[in-house]
Structure formats: structure tokens, C-alpha cells
Amino acid sequence: MDSWIHPALFFFLGALLLPLFKGKAKKGFILLIPAVSILSVALARYGMYGAYHFLGVEGLFGRVDKLSMVFAWVFVIMAFLGALYALHREEDGHHMAGFFYVGSALGAVFAGDYLTLFIFWEIMAFSSVFLIWYRKEKKSIEAGFRYLLFHVFGGLLFFAGMMLYYYKTGSFVFDSILPANASWPEYLILAGFALNAAVLPLHAWLPDAYPEASVEGAVFLCAFTTKTAVYVLARGFSGFEILAIMGTAMTVFGVCYAVIENDIRRVLAYHIISQVGYMVAGVGIGTAMAVNGAAAHAFAHILYKALLFMGAGSVLYMTGTAKLSRLGGLYKYMPLTMIFYVVGAVSISGFPLFSGFVSKSMIVSAAHHEGRIWLMQLLNLAGIGTFLSVGLKVTYFAFFGKEAAEPLQAKEPPLNMLWAMGLTALLCFIIGVFPQTLYILLPFPVEYHPYNLAHLSETMQILSFTGLVFYLLVKKLSPEVKINLDVDFFYRKGALLFMKFDEKVIAPFDTLWGELYRTLGLSALFKNAALSYAFDRKVIDGVVDGTAYSVMDSGSVVKKLQTGRIQTYIGLSLFLFFTLLWLIL
């Protein structure tokens, strides 16, 4: 097969055509687009497609190889599940934003050069922000603007790096960079990518914005932005030591916040930082096994994190709150939602038979193989925090625990949401039981068997004894009606401080200046005007009038000469002619 239709095209066209459909046809169309894109990915053959020449730059829309394909696969599967989950939404705009977002993420994954990547990178930021705004609350609007500003900043870092890279190498080709060759341009690009991957300290946009997104939008958001960033890091920057260290730091940082947060979606958002940390660490370690692990974990993570966001979203959708402090005893009203959430929770915690077990452990084992024992310990510590926060804390306080103070009139969510959760849960289970289905997609050949005795023993000890500590300290963990500061403090409070500075210093100065101008400047201006007026009247007008009078005088002389008789004119002409002749000669 020589030609191939880029799956992003279906999403972009689908988004534009969507408003033309109505009723059931629209629902069908919303599911058809991701289904067709799955087909397009299934039919793709490795190779380079869609090379173009623009302003002297060689661009490439479709680099189809193993690394891009593993991400493309999970993106289109997730697009289908996300569309199914969001099927009940009436607004076209929400679905269109979702389609543009998925399409641009696919465009970024297949881009072969920085310029193409940059274009899709920016579409991604600008389409995803609508998924936050569609929650239509004041907080979401504000969080959306912060999200957008932060991503524009990231885009600028990337753009500056890209341009400097072009000056350095004369090319926009996006390929693996050796750590030894990296200097300013590469590190600027790396910073732009790292911002989207929520690498510390450029992470605060994520837990700020995702919990404020619409119920359905959050399911999309948690899948694409950070994982596209993991892809570009794996493509360009594998083996960068700083990523191994920062990734590991992210894993622990994320779970620490997940332990103390109250809002379920905020717990999950912090937990994305932790999980993406595993992938970033895998990319940083850079061996075949570690990069495989990063790709496998991205695949597994997209599914179970989406499942968790679907579960939390269902709770929010049905009860009107996602705050643990106001929830409790939900198992009675939403047992299916609870089961699906728990499947997501055991998957993310890496229980045997579920997807996290076969993906996360690849990265941990890669650290182990490389003798990076401290990294391995910290990654396992984050594993403890994962099960503690997402697995035990949320499940216990939302679905069990004390009954909520205000009785919750909750029911199971609509059928399409249940189906989406059920299918996603099934995929998590299939990957866990048949890891080969995932491993054949990975960029490097896999010689890893997760189901061995040592690994099982290690995992079961970590999970079970975490359970024991939770059982003993459950009171310590009861949710508190608080929010926790993060580095967004600096720009949120910084902006408020600036507004105060504006109000207290700049605005009064401006008023003072205005006053000064009014009293001194304006009166001077008036005096000046009066002077000019007098000058105009006395001098200019005098001169002009004088000229006018002399013109009038000469006019009256001429008038006398103009008698209207032709013989006088001829006589006068002859007289003038001879006078001139006499003067010249």
C-alpha cells in the first residue's frame, strides 16, 4: 500500500462536518470518526508519507514507524472510548474540540519535522482549552486561561529552540538527539516538551486545569497532552540523565500531593504527574527496555487513567461533587461505577492480572538492570503512594467509609458512560492477562516476562503491606476540606500582587499624571492657544488682509483696463509688445 490517509484528517474533517448531523445520525457520526481512524491506523504500513516543501523547508506529515504507531494505536482507541463516554453531550462544540484535540495529537505523533510538530502542538493547546471551558463555571474559565497562557509559554520555548536549532544545523528534521551534542537550542526544545509532560517545576498547569474541566473533557485531557509529550521526549531525548532524575522526582512528588488532596479529580490529576514521571524516567534511563517500558506504560496508563477519570466524572456527574469530604457510601447507589473505578485503581497500582503490572514494572526492572537502585527504590515508593491514594483512599472514602452528611441521591450514570467504562476496564484486564498483545506494539524487541516469582513476590508484598498501613492509619487520611499550595501559587498570587501594584502604584501615578497634565499641561496649552490666536489675528491676518487689499486694488486697476472693446485690447497689446521689444533690445 503506497498511500495512506492520515488518521488526523478524519478527526479534522469530522469536526467540521459534525454540525450538519442531527439526532441519532449525529451520535453515530461521533462514534464513526474514531472507528474509521482505528481502521486507518490498522492499515498503516511503516514508511514516510506526505513529504512537503514549504518556504524552503522540507516537511513530513507522516513518519510511520514502531514508536509513532504504539502511540497512534492507543490514541485512536482512546478517542473511541472518550467519544462513547461523551456521547450524551448535546453541544457540538464540545465534540468538535475533542476531535480537533485528538487529531492534532495524532498529527504531532506522526510529524517528521519540528515545523509540522509545532503546528499540531499549538492546535492541541488551543483546542483542548475548550474542554476546560465547557464546564462553564467561573473557576473553569479562569483555570482555562491560566492553562492557555502556560501552554503558549511552552510553545514559545519550543519555537525559540526550534529556530535556534535551525540556525545551528540548517534543518528542521526531528530525530534522536545525543546528550553530548545538546546545547541551548536542544535544551529549549526539551523545556517546551517537558512543560507538556508536566515535568517539575513546569507541572502546575495540570492539577490546576484538569480538575476544572468538563466531566467528559477531563477524560480526553488526561490522555493526550502529556502522552504526546512523552512520545516526543522518547523520540528526541532518550538517554538524557536529567529526565531520569526529574521523572523519578515527579513520581514521588505526584503521589505526595495525591495523598493529601480532597477532590477526586485533583487526586487523579496529581497522580498523572506521578505516572508520567515513570515514563519520563524510562525515557531518561534510555535503554531499549526502559524506552519500551515508557511506551508500554503510556499505552496502559492512557486506558486506566481515563477509566479512573470516567469513574470520578460519573460520581461528579451524578452527585454534583467530586470532593471526598462530601462523599461516602456510594457503593450502594453506584456499584457498577465502583467496580469499574476499582479496576482502574488496581490497574494503576500494578496488581497482577491488570495492565499496570506488565507496563510499570518494565521501567522499574530497567532501572534495576542498569544498577540504578535508588531510582528503583523511589519508583517503588511512588508505587506505594499510588495504591495508597488512588487505590485505597479514594475508593474507601468515596464508595465506602461514612455515609455522606447530606444524603446523596445518586444513581448509576447514563448507559453510554457505563459502556465506555466497561470496555476500558476490559482492555485493562486483557493487557494484564495477555501482555503480549501490548508488547508486540513496542518499539524494541521485548525480552521481558512480568509474571515471574521474584516480581510477583515483590509486588504483592508492596501492595499488601501498603494495605496494612492504610488499615492502621485510615483516620490520619480522612479527607480535609482544604486545597494545597503548589508552584502555581507564585503566578496566581504574583498576578494578584501585580494587580494590587497596578491598583496602588501604577493607577494612582496615572491619575496623578492626568491631574498634572490637566492643571499644568492644559493651562499652558490654553495660553499657548490664546497666543497663537492673537498672533493669527494680528500678524497672519494682517499680512493676509494686506495681500488681499493689494489684490483688490490691482483688481480695480485691471477692471478699468478691461473695457470689453476689442480695439482697446489690440491697442494695449501692441503698446505692451513694443515696450517689451524696446526693453529687450
Binding site: H368, Q377, L388, F465, N484
Partner: protein, 82 residues
């Protein structure tokens, strides 16, 4: 609903489940001690039931430190940013 009945039934047997859980924990430690260790390279592979101690200490510290820092200065009222 069937699922609900199963959960209610299990909640009724909490004491029994607790017993089973503790027995399971004991079995895990025992299993790890019996595990063959010929290809152990690092201390984490050599120490018996290393991950049990790791999980106990790690989980305890994680809760204490996170909650401690939160109470020390991170925690703010929900309308902190207005």
C-alpha cells in the same frame, strides 16, 4: 442488584476477612523467604522480605511526611485564591 448483595455479604463478614488478610500477609513473607535467590545482584534482592519492610516504612513515612507538610504550610482554605 447482585453486586450489591455480594458487597453487603462481605461487609457482614468483616472479621473473617480481616483474619484472612493477616494470614495472607504472613504467607507472603514466608513465600519470599523461600524464594530462590541465585541471581540476586543488589541488596534489595538479597534481604529476606525486603519489600515488606520497604512498604511498611515507605507507606508510613509517605503519609506522615505528606500530611505533615500539608499541615505545616501547604493547606489553605478552599477560597484561598478567591
Amino acid at each position: 442488584m447482585n453486586v450489591l448483595k455480594i458487597i453487603e455479604y462481605l461487609r457482614g463478614k468483616a472479621a473473617l476477612l480481616k483474619m484472612a488478610f493477616f494470614l495472607f500477609l504472613g504467607a507472603l513473607v514466608l513465600l519470599d523467604i523461600l524464594l530462590p535467590r541465585e541471581d540476586a545482584h543488589y541488596f534489595v534482592d538479597k534481604i529476606y522480605a525486603f519489600w515488606t519492610f520497604f512498604a511498611l516504612a515507605g507507606c508510613f513515612l509517605l503519609i506522615k511526611i505528606s500530611k505533615g507538610i500539608a499541615h505545616f504550610f501547604l493547606s489553605k482554605d478552599e477560597d484561598y485564591y478567591g
